[in-house]
Symmetry: C2
């Protein structure tokens, strides 16, 4: 119940979590971002109950993250393709994977590697500033109220 | 129950979600990354039940994401400080916020802005390749098995 209220918060993190703030959902996205499109392939990869998977795929389709398309008529079969909104979640899953690699991987090392096809290298992507190209970290940033903040610009509008 | 098994998956995304795959937890981290340290301040910001907040803070402390330190003896008061492991979650929350800004913010615009103190600009950070400096997106990358993958290198070890 409280979950649904997240969409009303004046916070983009909370609103994003209203869509993807559930661990099964992020694992479905992980697979979708790696190219999985079909129900049975998601099911085989994730091992979750079919009813739960159906509900999560519907949630992501309703949210505009996935498009559900029929690829066969008899019997009817569908595939789930990432929309632009869905592809835009790549950095969230990539940074989550990178943190997991660094802080939770076992002694054998990372279970999966990211290859940057543009240059062919196995990479650990970095978050940088588009202006000065410097690394963007907690220590080098601060958060300030934006135009969508509750109360922001109230005086200007009154 | 299934949740706890995530730590055993051969996947850094799943293992990361074992720590932070719960939306309250990510909102606590959002606040911690913006400088919140005290129980009452988390409580005031998030409005969650005190018992739930206590459990989530303990979960993050047990996971090594937060350090719990006593800052007053009478009455005993504690603060929660991000560890290096916790600060390393900044890119996850920043990319989540950025996606929320782009795809879920209302007509008024982003509720919060990120200022890069190194250059003083309000920024939308970018995920780039450390080698070629090109943008890292779903379309420009592929995922391959790493040394920690189940079955990876089995023949070499046999």
């Amino acid at each position: 119940m409280e979950h649904t209220r997240l969409a009303e918060w004046h916070c983009s993190v909370a609103r994003a979590l209203d869509v993807v703030g559930e661990w099964w959902t992020l694992l479905i996205l992980r697979d979708a971002l790696r190219g999985t499109t079909r129900f049975d392939d998601f099911h085989e990869s994730l091992g979750m109950a079919r009813s739960v998977l159906t509900a999560r795929l519907k949630h992501l389709t309703d949210a505009g993250v996935l498009d559900k398309l029929q690829y066969r008529e008899h019997p009817p079969r569908h595939e789930y393709l990432l929309t632009e909104k869905g592809k835009a979640l790549f950095p969230v899953v990539a940074t989550l994977q990178q943190w997991g690699d660094e802080w939770t991987a076992g002694p054998a090392g990372p279970p999966a590697l990211l290859v940057h096809e543009s240059c062919g290298h196995v990479i650990q992507p970095r978050l940088v500033c588009p202006d000065c190209r410097g690394e963007v970290t907690q220590a080098s940033t601060r958060t300030v109220p934006g135009p969508g903040a509750s109360g922001y610009g109230d005086t200007a509008g009154s």
